[in-house]
């Protein structure tokens, strides 16, 4: 196997030009966690490796009039420590706290997580529940994509070979919105979780946005389930009915350890726990959370 050419991108435009010149055989590396793993397993052999980690102005977290703007190179550790994230979208703080472990959170970036391990990553669920959008730049200019539309299939995202995710914009939830994150798996540290659920609920009632992972080939927003829960009284949700609708919206694949049926079972448990935690949280905070 010949070694890829290593290009240290000086700017987003330099990276895009390099990717374009590579004619589809370029690979972006940011924090390097996933790309290194691919190399160690001999699963990638691009002609050109484009290192974007030193591009100035891609690693930031800032408050905007609408919420938060997170640069693609912000690490999970940056997000975990950010007072702005905690103030505007504490759901993302909670998720970051439980991503993998400190030594990987120090290198792994939000942009990298979304683009490479979307189908197994935790942050994508929170971003879906919060209604985040991504700012993407390519040779033809910039475009905006809703994160739930970004995922096409396993390891397949709506990103051309010469496009780069520049930032993720997170709208601030309504004042008093309730939220929770639930992951189910062998252990919290390190293992890719089986089922991950994030929910953001309206300040009162049962209006809800749900982001799930592990229930299909790619992160999932079960809209019919959201619509059904919204018709119910938050205090007396009919989980049997919710489970039926949810089952129609997910397509988990059984593996050596967990059967498809078991994952369907877990998906409902994860959703129920997340919703119950979100509702309990509003009580804890006297409804002011």
């Amino acid at each position: 196997m010949s070694e890829p050419q290593f290009v240290r991108a000086r700017s987003v435009d330099h990276a895009i030009d390099t990717l374009k010149a590579a004619g589809g055989d370029g690979l972006i590396v940011a924090g390097g966690v996933v790309v290194s793993s691919l190399f160690n397993q001999r699963l990638a052999s691009p002609a050109v490796l484009v290192d974007i980690s030193r591009i100035k102005g891609l690693r930031y977290i800032k408050r905007t009039p609408n919420g938060l703007s997170i640069g693609a190179l912000a690490t999970h550790d940056d997000i975990h420590r950010s007072a702005d994230v905690k103030a505007v979208a504490p759901l993302l703080t909670e998720i970051a706290e439980d991503v993998s472990c400190p030594r990987l959170r120090n290198r792994g970036t939000l942009g990298g997580s979304i683009c490479t391990i979307g189908g197994q990553g935790d942050p994508a669920t929170g971003l879906i529940a919060l209604g985040a959008t991504m700012q993407i730049k390519g040779p033809g200019g910039e475009r905006t994509a809703h994160i739930e539309d970004f995922y096409k299939d396993a390891f397949e995202v709506d990103l051309a070979p010469d496009e780069i995710v520049e930032r993720i914009d997170v709208p601030a939830p309504q004042t008093g919105a309730r939220f929770a994150f639930c992951k189910l798996g062998p252990r919290n540290a390190m293992d890719f979780t089986q089922i991950t659920v994030s929910v953001v609920m309206a300040p009162t009632g049962s209006g809800i946005r749900i982001g799930m992972n592990g229930v299909a080939n790619a992160p999932n927003r079960p809209r019919a389930t959201e619509a059904l829960i919204a018709t119910m009284n938050a205090g007396s949700i009919n989980w049997t009915a919710v489970g039926k609708t949810l089952n129609g919206e997910i397509s988990p694949q059984g593996d050596l350890v967990y059967s498809e049926d078991f994952k369907r079972h877990l998906a409902l448990i994860g959703l129920r726990r997340a919703v119950e935690r979100a509702l309990a949280r509003s009580k804890e905070a006297g409804g002011r959370a």
Binding site: E3, P4, Q5, F6, R8, V29, G32, V33, V35, S36, S37, F39, N40, Q41, L49, D51, S53, D77, S100, C101, P102, R103, L104, N106, R107, N188, A189, M190
Partner: protein, 157 residues
């Protein structure tokens, strides 16, 4: 072809080295520069045996492309000792018997050192969470956590 020139500062000493684009920091540290205290186990980022401190942060050297680390300041387990004096963590690991086969030990020491530098007075729960990315297959976790807790308790407030 090893044609990417980088400079790594390892334990205070500068090394110029030409690396391949897919070469891991771990391989450069061990095989090129002789810092063999950093261990390789899983090459998947799961076990933490290869943990080193890069620019103050614990880093998984088996999942780190060396070419990305030009100019980095790296501390390996060999760099914990100063003037022949072991780091308090190393002393505590010996005192508490926090070493069985010893293969995971450098990774635990580096994760714990980075953590204590950031948070010198943690709770036991915080210590356990900080070490969640390091695996000891001898399962000697209790003594490892005791050792880190001991160092934290003895450091000046």
């Amino acid at each position: 072809m090893a044609n990417i020139d980088i400079t790594l500062n390892v334990n205070g000493k500068d090394h110029r080295v030409a690396v391949r684009s897919t070469e891991m920091l771990l391989e450069v540290l061990r095989d090129r520069l002789g810092y063999v205290g950093t261990n390789k186990v899983c090459a998947q980022g799961i076990c933490g045996a290869c943990t080193v401190i890069v620019d103050g942060k614990s880093t998984t050297s088996c999942l780190a492309l060396a070419a990305q680390f030009d100019g980095a300041r790296i501390i390996t387990v060999e760099g914990l000792e100063h003037d022949g004096k072991l780091d308090p963590l190393q002393e505590a690991f010996m005192k508490h018997g926090a070493v069985q086969c010893g293969y995971c030990t450098p990774g635990f020491l580096m994760s714990a050192r980075a953590f204590l530098n950031d948070n010198p007075h943690p709770t036991r729960t915080e210590i356990i969470d900080a070490l969640r990315g390091n695996i000891c297959r001898c399962t000697g976790y209790k003594k490892i956590i005791d050792a880190v807790e001991d160092v934290a308790a003895r450091s000046a407030r």
